[in-house]
Amino acid sequence: MESQKKFAMSPSILAELGDAVSETQIFRDEVTLLCPKHRLLEVLQALRDTQQFDMFTFATCVDYYPGEPRFGILYQLYSTTRNIRVRVKVMLSGNDRSVPSACSVYHAANWPEREMYDLFGIHFEGHPDLRRIMMPPGYEGHPLLKENPAKVEEVAFSFNRARAWEDKPHPQE
């Protein structure tokens, strides 16, 4: 962990991004840039073109329920030439689950955005192929939202068969 510290990113180089970045958070030497959603593509474009963040590491979504704004969409970038990482984060309200797609800036955003659409129901405007990716065709709902409790299904034995089957999403017969 010690060795990772010297690769931390200096916040000063982000001055160039100007007011597109509303807040800079640093936790455990990891830099997170918060930006409003209408300026997301602008920030990503600037990081890719002027700051050499050429590699798209991953993107994911965090559900902060019951907090508001409820969703955080994160894009983690890496620069192969400068050997540093940065995270760009957009906060979304629970009532407005749409964000511009980053596919036009990073090709690699395609599948992660489909995954967020599938598991969280976030709509990515301008995504070339927004379909479910993990869940089966015809599945309803978005499993990683906090309103779907993660729970263990009761195993059906002869003594509890009726009760156990009540709990299953697709009851017997």
Binding site: R28, H107, W111, L144
Partner: protein
């Protein structure tokens, strides 16, 4: 060329030969138009399904191939058949219980997944790991990398037609699995690393067993080279196949040997060393052409480098504890519980509630056999994570498959899929 009888000639939709139902995907005809060329809808090219039950897709990968004769026009991977909801399950497990889930992500390299996960929690909780534990982690991670590469080598060669390679590489893998069984009690689902160190110290026979591997494997690797390296059939099937350029490989977020085969020098062990990788001297093999053969060469040479790291770590292995003495994170030793009230309380708290970590979000990446395996944790301060996301290298490497297979022959698809070394447990999570 897909030849059709005149009476089957295609009319424009809705009477088109290709319907959304034909593809069995959750897809409308309009979406299908985005994915394949217009020639497929007019019947000039053929849409063909490959997988998910196919021996050369390394699990349950499904590909929708558009073929012009034997040439692949476009390739649409369809994943999710092995989705097990690991990220959702992790939200109801404490940080210690979560280790067990990580074995199941990349089940061919469980110890590296363990290492990424405990590394992320250690970063979040700001825990220091004793040096002995770090070195043992390195030895086991490198043995895991070799066992993962051996499975890749065997199955990849089998796909292309070199049957005997499979038998040899699985024979050697057995030696490595015996070592994992010796330290953790399980061949594959090891769960050996703990937050702050290791579950227990290595047994006495460990060093001898590893030295045996160090002695045997170099000559076995030479045998593998004799079978494949200059084999004309192997070279015909791999050289110049599935080429991806340096810029494309970066743009698609590829990592690991699949990225280094294109000549990009990015290895997390070198770029951002973790677990004392900076104490060891090793090099990162790079390819130049970005084809199947170069990716094969990168992995073969990586195995030699792994042996080099293991030897150094074993020679320098320090004495000392194997788990942190921070009692808020690691359980107290059994004998202490008998006479210390405080230890008993710690033990009770750890096994009932788990430990608490600060509020925050961290990302920690390690180099797995497939590429950059990362763990992102969002914590709300409770003993269970708010959200865990696993950055699976195969997920991003597989995303580049359409790019690599454009214009390839259909027979080469199995070679290209094999060369990016996917594990579907990791792709679908």
């Amino acid at each position: 060329m897909a030849v059709r009888e005149p009476d089957q000639q295609i009319k424009e939709s809705p009477g088109s030969v290709v319907s959304a139902q034909d593809t069995q995907m959750d897809i409308t005809l309009d979406q299908l138009r985005q994915l394949v060329s217009p020639r497929a809808l007019s019947g000039e090219t053929m849409l063909m399904n490959m997988g998910p039950q196919h021996p050369s897709t390394h699990g349950v990968l499904r590909l929708l191939l558009e073929l012009d004769g034997e040439t692949v026009v476009s390739c649409v991977p369809d994943i999710g058949f092995l989705h097990t909801g690991i990220e959702k399950t992790a939200e109801i497990k404490t940080y210690t219980q979560g280790i067990v889930l990580t074995d199941r992500i990349d089940y061919l390299a469980p110890l590296i997944c363990n290492l990424a996960y405990v590394g992320a929690v250690e970063k979040l909780a700001d825990v220091d790991v004793p040096l002995r534990a770090q070195y043992i982690r390195v030895i086991l991670a490198e043995l895991t990398r070799m066992s993962s590469h051996l499975v890749w080598l065997g199955t990849h060669a089998l796909d292309i037609g070199a049957m005997s390679m499979f038998l040899y590489s699985f024979r050697e893998r057995e030696m490595l699995l015996d070592i994992f069984e010796m330290v953790s009690g399980a061949r594959m689902m090891t769960s050996y690393f703990r937050v702050g160190g290791l579950w227990r110290d290595i047994p006495d026979q460990f060093a001898d067993a590893v030295r045996q591997v160090l002695k045997l494997l170099p000559q076995r690797l030479l045998e593998y080279e004799k079978i494949l390296k200059e084999n004309p059939i192997w070279r015909e099937r791999t050289v110049g196949v599935g080429v991806i350029s340096q810029a494309d490989a970066i743009a698609w977020g590829m990592s690991g040997p699949s990225l280094r085969g294109s000549g990009v020098n990015y290895d997390v062990r070198k770029a951002m060393p973790y677990s004392s990788y900076d104490h060891f001297d090793f090099s990162v093999p790079l390819g130049t052409h970005g084809d199947v053969y170069d990716r094969y060469r990168c992995r073969m040479e990586e195995m030699t480098q792994s042996l080099k790291i293991i030897e150094q770590a074993l020679n320098k292995l320090p004495d000392g504890p194997v788990i942190t003495d921070n009692r808020k994170i690691a359980p107290p030793p059994k004998h202490e519980i008998a006479y210390s009230m405080e230890s008993l309380i710690h033990h009770f708290k750890l096994w009932t509630e788990g430990f608490r970590v600060p509020v925050g979000e961290v990302y920690h990446a390690v180099e797995s056999g497939k590429g950059e395996f990362g763990v992102f944790i969002s914590s709300d301060g409770s003993p269970k994570p708010r959200r865990i996301h696993f950055r699976a290298p195969s997920f991003y490497n597989l995303q580049a498959l359409p790019q690599m297979s454009k214009g390839a022959l259909i027979a080469d698809i199995v070679g290209i899929v094999g060369s990016i070394d996917i594990v579907l447990g990791e792709v679908d999570r």
